[in-house]
Symmetry: C2
Subunit: 258 residues, 2 copies
């Protein structure tokens, strides 16, 4: 078998090559909904979509026109899909340091009517302020934030419905099982701000309960209390601030409580 394998690998021209390689990005942001003074925030997880134009630059009917789609573009031959995602997103938002993670490949034959096009899919976490700003600047008819509760009801281009469904699943897992939530928060945050982020993706009673969560946060090894600094963002009373510690955390499902 390994000879067969070697043969296959060698004879490169035998194989048809893809017609394109794109990098696509599910851009998530969390907006604070009822952000009243001295109140803990209520948050909602949103995804940014762009509306495909009716006509292309040459005045012809555009493919998948008027449908909502995730942003993306072709990967250049001097960059990785990850770098392409980063480049495109930084062009889009004018900010750097965005958290991006690759989560899937979409390559089903026929997924794009223009040819055999491989999509390398990423998700990105963008602080709310940037996207709200961006939307205000542009005329913005073609860019919109959708709640993850609503987005599956839209008519979406290509196989983007599947990509988005997968992205929501992955970011939900990551928010709960990694420290990626830090990318939705300021460096120093209150327990209720972290709690609000987690509440966008879980109903776990231990996270929903203020008393339990504010007690628990003190014993988490990947979170540290910031000494001598408080805020009144969420309460009239000065509130303790916390910060994430860089650390890999893996907790087996076999040792958890049910």
């Amino acid at each position: 078998m390994s000879n067969k394998h070697a043969l296959k690998q060698y004879d490169i021209k035998k194989y048809r090559t893809p017609d394109g390689y794109t990098s696509d990005i599910c851009v998530f942001t969390i907006i604070a909904e009822k952000n009243e003074a001295y109140k803990p925030p209520t948050m909602d997880l949103k995804i940014m979509l762009i509306k495909r134009a009716a006509l292309d630059s040459e005045g012809n009917m555009n493919i998948e026109a008027n449908k909502w789609a995730i942003p993306g573009g072709f990967v250049q031959d001097d960059e990785t899909g990850f770098q392409a995602a980063k480049r495109e997103l930084e062009e889009e938002t004018n900010i750097s340091g965005i958290h991006i993670k690759q989560f899937g490949v979409y390559d089903k034959p026929g997924r794009d009517p223009r040819g055999w096009i491989i999509s390398n899919a990423h998700y990105a976490i963008v602080p709310d302020t940037y996207l709200s700003l961006r939307k205000a600047q542009d005329d913005a008819a073609d860019i919109e934030l959708f709640s993850i509760k609503d987005v599956m009801d839209l008519e979406l281009a290509f196989d983007h419905k599947q990509i988005i469904a997968d992205a929501i699943q992955v970011i939900t897992n990551d928010l709960l099982q990694t420290t990626v939530a830090k990318n939705f928060l300021p460096d120093n945050f209150t327990y209720s701000e972290l709690q609000a982020v987690l509440k966008t993706v879980t109903n776990d009673p231990a996270i929903l309960s203020d008393q339990s969560f504010s007690r628990k946060i003190k014993s988490l090894p990947f979170i540290q209390e910031v000494q001598g600094k408080t805020t009144t963002r969420t309460s009239k009373r000065a509130t303790k601030l916390y910060t994430f510690i860089e650390m890999d955390v893996i907790k087996p499902i076999y040792t958890a409580r049910y």
Copy 2:
């Protein structure tokens, strides 16, 4: 920006296309090392590698010759990378129903000297019996199982060292945070068999302790005791058997104990 985006997507011929799209597979198996009668097994997580031939089918020097590599091959234009992985693996092992999961894309320019080749990487879980058999059948000089503790010391082809390192990280996470361990086990297994699988990737004391683990397994919602059936595989005394229940499990790191 969305116009720029639409333009980019339309003008497909402007972009260089990849020279190839491959599907590569890190094949993991767990072999029971000291499998004495009436003893709980001691297991070791292994990865299957193939040795690249010195010469190709035309008698020329092969690229990356004599180095160890993960199996893989080109994706055909009528299949997905996932299907290609499945096809290649089934050709290889002659078994079906293998658990396969996509975990990464490797597309760094220059990663393959033959051109711009995108690798879609998967990991597969194969029961030990099959691979041992296979190895015995072939002359098998070119196929070998390496312990994940040793594999990083080998000279590996292309960027396979990175791919393997990532695969080990991913399967470690998955073994602990999902029910994927079931693919290493018979349908009905004892607590010590499951424990042996988990011990290949963790030192968590709650998993290492026989008493704790055998007590805990009864309360896990995704594992069920098999009524009226026992085995003496691991002990002289008849031992209870368990089975996995199909179920998604997510346990937040924010509610775990530390």
